[in-house]
């Protein structure tokens, strides 16, 4: 028998502390306590000591139920020929990775959802395809299974999305919040409130379990990376971040801030070249590990004489100033590597796809951009992006504090989303994630942060509405959006965060901006739902959505940069309060 170990007793905080954290509202006269917003009410019974071994499974079951029931609804491209949609793309990759040699993965019939994600996605598809083949081989039969809409296949695919999320994203978020709350001295109870809020974020649920994609794997690896960096394990942070990039190249949105932060810790407060070398080596090694199985597979196939000579040379290789020897030993691996890069970064595609609420698409409405050459537009996009990400990256470089990380990541990814090239409306999930993580930080549940996080999320799903509508996901959109707003005590369900005279209240300008956007979104929904657009402007409501979304996201970007500047204490006028602590940073 092991010695009796007394349980750690949790500190009981006094109610005024909770009030100052924005979770409990204390009535001025009666001193009666009440939850500041409904989500707090749901965790009210566990305010005292409760075993996390009970609370955590219960939370995970509930958020899982909302995910699974969302999955009962439609998915992208259901019975909509000729191309169907993302669901078919993911299914198709499971088909080709399990049935074709690796050397064909990035070459096979590119017009039918050719693989255009990095190798981790391919491995993931391979595993899921193998498992699916055990259950029903017709789901992923080569060529014959295209555009399959078997209801059992849908359930299998939904289950894969859910399981992938629970294996990657959910544990990452849980551990990340542990580190954040430890770093910022947040009590466990409030950290759980933030956890539920983050896991119930409507955008991620709607896209992954409704529209159908595996974003949560990429998001989860990213959160794992943030979590490692918050814990001071920077090398692990690199590994996970490369994993995130290796799953979906969209993780590039965050890479400037990650890069700036990692450089920052090597320079401030003193220059540490060895640390820098370590980070660089690990990063390169991680990339090599991500690509290695794929390239080994290719080399092995070469050894088995599976022909690759007929494969076209990707433009990256063709543009090289010297001629490559097609018989050289290294050629197959080089060819495949170049082809995967070519597929992952499709510069041949346009500035934006569909309508997306970013700067370029909004500008295009008034000033047609297709009059300029694509090279010019690409350069303009590059410059604008650099300009937008420079402020947050510089701040996090000069002040590489762990607590600033989520803000810097949010600001940088907003800049990227607004100004870069080839952006999808779904990419708004990338800035939304670090921004939503702010809920678990210092003052995260006070109106001053909660209202902003809520504003960004509500605006985010609103800009995805045209996409979700095509997928027959209107009801889940309204249901989950309403639910999240309700739980967080935000418009359109409640104005409680916009009251005056509460701790962490908002200033008048913020209230005005937020409420006018909320009113605008509601008016837009009414108009979109009941008013037919005029004959000559069939896209009127979609364009209106973009024109509303882009400035709203711009405001979110500005708020993130401004808050980052304030919290960094770089300039005295931005942060008037006396220098508070960061007790245990670095």
């Amino acid at each position: 028998m092991s010695a009796h170990k007394p349980r750690r007793r949790r500190r009981l905080e006094d109610p005024s502390a909770y009030a100052n954290h924005g979770t409990i509202h204390v009535d001025a006269q009666t001193k009666k306590q009440s939850p500041a917003f409904p989500l707090v009410a749901f965790l009210w019974p566990v305010k005292g000591p409760i075993s996390q071994w009970v609370l955590l499974p219960l939370i995970l079951m509930v958020v899982g139920l909302f995910r699974w029931t969302t999955g009962l609804w439609g998915y992208s491209g259901f019975q909509s020929p000729p191309m169907h949609g993302d669901f078919e793309a993911q299914r198709h990759w499971m088909e080709i990775t399990t049935h074709l040699p690796a050397s064909q993965w990035y070459f096979h019939d590119l017009d039918w959802w050719g693989l255009d994600y990095p190798p981790l996605t391919a491995y993931h598809s391979w595993v899921l395809g193998k498992l699916g083949n055990y259950i029903n081989p017709t789901w992923f039969a080569i060529m014959d299974s295209r555009a399959l809409d078997d209801p059992d296949l849908k359930i299998y695919m939904r289950a894969t999305a859910l399981v992938s999320e629970y294996l990657v994203y959910v544990p990452a978020v849980i551990i990340c919040l542990r580190h954040l709350s430890h770093l910022q001295h947040i009590n466990t109870w409030e950290s759980y409130i933030a956890l539920v809020a983050i896991l119930m974020q409507p955008g991620a649920i709607l896209i992954d379990h409704g529209h159908f994609q595996f974003n949560t794997v990429m998001l989860g690896l990213f959160v794992a990376s943030v979590s490692s960096m918050l814990a001071g394990r920077h090398l692990w942070g690199c590994v996970f971040f490369v994993g995130s990039l290796g799953f979906k190249q969209m993780a590039l949105f965050w890479s400037p801030a990650v890069f700036a932060y990692l450089c920052g810790i090597c320079v401030f407060p003193r220059v540490r070249p060895l640390k820098f070398v370590g980070i660089a080596l690990i990063t390169i090694l991680s990339f090599a590990i991500v690509w290695a199985p794929f390239l080994f597979g290719v080399v092995y196939e070469q050894y088995r004489n599976i022909p690759i000579k007929h494969l076209p040379m990707p433009p990256i290789l063709a543009a090289l100033p010297f001629r490559l020897d097609r018989d050289a030993l290294y050629y197959p691996a080089l060819l495949q590597f170049a082809q995967s890069l070519h597929r992952i970064f499709p510069f041949a595609r346009g500035l934006f796809e569909d309508k997306v609420a970013n700067f370029w698409c909004a500008l295009h409405t008034f000033h047609k951009l297709n009059r300029y050459s694509s090279v010019f537009v690409q350069r303009a996009a590059l410059l604008a992006t650099l300009f937008a990400i420079a402020p947050p990256c510089i701040i996090i470089f000069v002040r590489p504090k762990r607590v600033l990380l989520p803000l810097a990541l949010a600001a940088t990814s907003w800049g990227f989303f607004l100004c870069s090239y080839q952006v999808h409306e779904k990419n708004v999930l990338l800035p939304l994630l670090p921004m939503t993580l702010l809920l678990s930080g210092q003052d995260g549940l006070l109106p001053s942060v909660r209202a902003w996080v809520g504003f960004a999320n509500m605006l985010g799903i609103w800009t995805m509405f045209p996409l979700l509508k095509r997928d027959e996901l209107r009801v889940p959109y309204f249901a989950l959006g309403f639910l999240w707003a309700y739980l967080m005590g935000l418009p359109p369900t409640s104005l409680s965060a916009y009251r005056s005279g509460i701790p962490g209240g908002l200033n008048t300008l913020t209230k005005l901006i937020h409420l006018s956007f909320y009113v605008g979104m509601i008016v837009w929904h009414v108009a979109e739902g009941f008013v037919e657009p005029p004959e000559n402007k069939p896209d009127l409501w979609v364009v209106a959505n973009v024109l509303g979304g882009a400035p709203g996201f711009g405001i979110c970007y500005i708020w993130c940069v401004w808050t980052l500047l304030k919290e960094s204490h770089l300039v005295a006028w931005a942060s008037p309060k006396a220098e508070p602590m960061e007790k245990k940073s670095q």
Binding site: K32, Q33, S34, P35, P38, V40, A41, F42, W44, P45, V54, P57, L58, M61, V62, G64, L65, F66, W68, T69, T70, L72, W73, P151, D152, I155, A159, V475, P476, A479, L480, F482, L483, Y486, L487
Partner: protein
């Protein structure tokens, strides 16, 4: 008194969102049953309602429910006129689904209101609040109403309202009236009627001091109001001389002893014993009725006949049911407290569920819901409630057999069981009497067995046997649940009679 969080309305909002997300889920033939009733009440004159038989799902609920369907059919005209066509069998356009599912949600407001009143009138709001939430979030109601499709939330709301109003002398009459109306909505509640009869008789119609002195005004008030309710519901059909036809629709005695799936009651154990005896019969020298063999092996046939054990007639089940009900009612008559009344309602539910003819497994709610109102009274009640909560909900699993709904029923039920059994465990006050030896250990073991059982029945069986022996998981679940229900019945009876 500080407020209770999360409040009933907060839980109702979140639960409603989940139920809205369940709109496209699997729906049973009950969906078409109710669509047909919407159509026939809307498009036919009243005197044809109980004769209409275009669809095989003829109207077999009492008249108030038919009126309720008529009311629901009025807005349907503006939303989806197609669903009101009697000839459109199996019509389920998405607007129909949205509309019918939304009517279930809207009618469930009655339950929310009833629970609110129940909490407000309880001496311990804290305990009542938790019981109320357990009913509001009941996996039984979620599975039956919002996936399978029925209007139980509304009906049980009325039952709870009626039970709650019975707590107060001044609202006893209203309680009786609401229960009479409930009987005219769905006659399954007749099973609980004996408890109402005895309680209203003793507490309302007879003098509290002397049971031989009736209170004439109260008798008249109660008699007249119940008469008015019945006239309002059956009157029009009596006017057309249709009462025999209506009754033949309401009480189809031609159905078999066990329902298509075996409800976990005594007869399921009886059938199970019979099946086991088929194999043992040659060794112990019993006669096997060869004709019955083929019928029993399916395990799903409505008309079960027994190979070894004697057959059971409706009369037998009726007598057994009534006997057990009368035993508990004698105690209620002698000591008519509100807790005794709720206990008697629960025991009437138990007796009819365990011994009734053609009992459907959905009827377990007749036991679980009244019992939930008492479960927190003290730890002895809770001890009897635990196996019932597990067995009752597990027995509902075979209702949903589609892969997509499988995780929902399992996860939601496990969530509910963990949450409420722990909450109840933490809150239930200690009993003044000694607990029953080993009962707690037994119930813990029983609950633990449910996990491998569910795993076997839902996954392993298909992997091992494929499509063969498909009755086996059903039989396991119903036998397992029957043990739990019977065990909790015995436990509750002990508590009830020793109180």
């Amino acid at each position: 008194m500080d407020e209770l969080y999360p409040s009933i309305s907060q839980c109702a909002v979140v639960a409603t969102v989940l139920k809205v997300l369940l709109f496209p889920a699997y729906k049973s033939t009950d969906f078409e049953v109710h669509r047909n009733w919407l159509a026939l009440t809307n498009s036919l004159p009243l005197k044809e309602w109980y004769f209409e038989q275009t669809s095989e799902w003829t109207l077999d609920y009492p008249p108030f429910f038919a009126y309720f369907e008529w009311v629901l059919s009025q807005p349907a005209r503006f939303i989806e006129p197609g669903l009101l066509n009697i000839k459109a069998l199996g019509f389920d356009s998405w607007k129909t689904v949205y509309y019918q599912r939304a009517t279930v949600l809207a009618s469930e407001l009655v339950l929310v209101l009833a629970l609110y009143i129940f909490v407000q009138t309880s001496p311990s709001k804290k305990l009542a609040h938790v019981s109320a939430l357990s009913i509001l979030l009941s996996p039984g109601l979620l599975i039956i109403d919002h996936i399978h499709f029925q209007y139980n939330g509304f009906l049980y709301g009325l039952l709870i309202l009626s039970v709650t109003l019975a707590r107060n002398r001044s609202t006893l009459l209203l309680s009786g009236i609401i229960f009479a109306a409930l009987l005219c909505l769905k006659h399954i509640y007749l099973y609980l009627a004996p408890a109402y009869f005895v309680y209203l008789l003793r507490a309302y119609c007879l003098s509290p001091d002397n049971i031989l002195r009736p209170r004439i005004t109260n008798c008249l008030k109660l008699g007249i109001s119940i008469g008015v309710i019945f006239v309002a519901s059956f009157g029009p059909f009596a006017y057309f001389n249709q009462i025999p036809q209506v009754l033949s629709r309401l009480f189809p005695f031609s159905r078999g002893l066990c329902h298509a799936y075996w409800a976990p009651n005594i007869w399921a154990m009886y059938s199970f014993t019979d099946r086991v005896l088929i194999y043992l019969a040659p060794y112990i020298g019993l006669n096997v009725d060869a004709a019955a063999l083929s019928s029993v092996t399916r395990g799903r046939v409505g008309d079960t006949s027994f190979a070894v054990l004697p057959d059971v007639t409706p009369g037998t089940t009726f007598i057994i049911t009534l006997t057990f009900q009368i035993i508990c009612l004698i105690k209620l008559f002698l000591k008519p407290s509100w807790e005794g009344f709720v206990g008697a309602v629960t025991l009437c539910g138990y007796a009819s569920f365990l011994f009734g003819w053609h009992v459907h497994e959905k009827a377990i709610l007749l036991v679980i819901i009244p019992f939930s109102l008492l479960a927190l009274k003290d730890r002895r009640y809770l001890g009897a409630f635990r196996p019932l909560a597990v067995a009752g909900h597990v027995s509902l699993f075979p209702l949903l057999f589609t892969a997509g709904e499988f995780p929902i029923k399992i996860i939601y039920t496990i969530f509910w069981l963990i949450l409420f059994l722990l909450a109840f465990d933490r809150l239930a006050p200690a009993s003044s009497r000694q607990r029953i030896f080993l009962l707690d250990r037994f119930s813990l073991l029983y609950i633990a067995v449910s996990i491998p059982l569910i795993a076997y029945c839902s996954l392993l069986h298909r992997i091992i046997f494929g499509p063969r022996l498909e009755f086996l998981p059903l039989m396991f679940i119903s036998s397992y649940s029957a043990i739990g229900v019977v065990g909790s019945w015995v436990g509750f009876s002990v508590v009830y009679f020793s109180q």
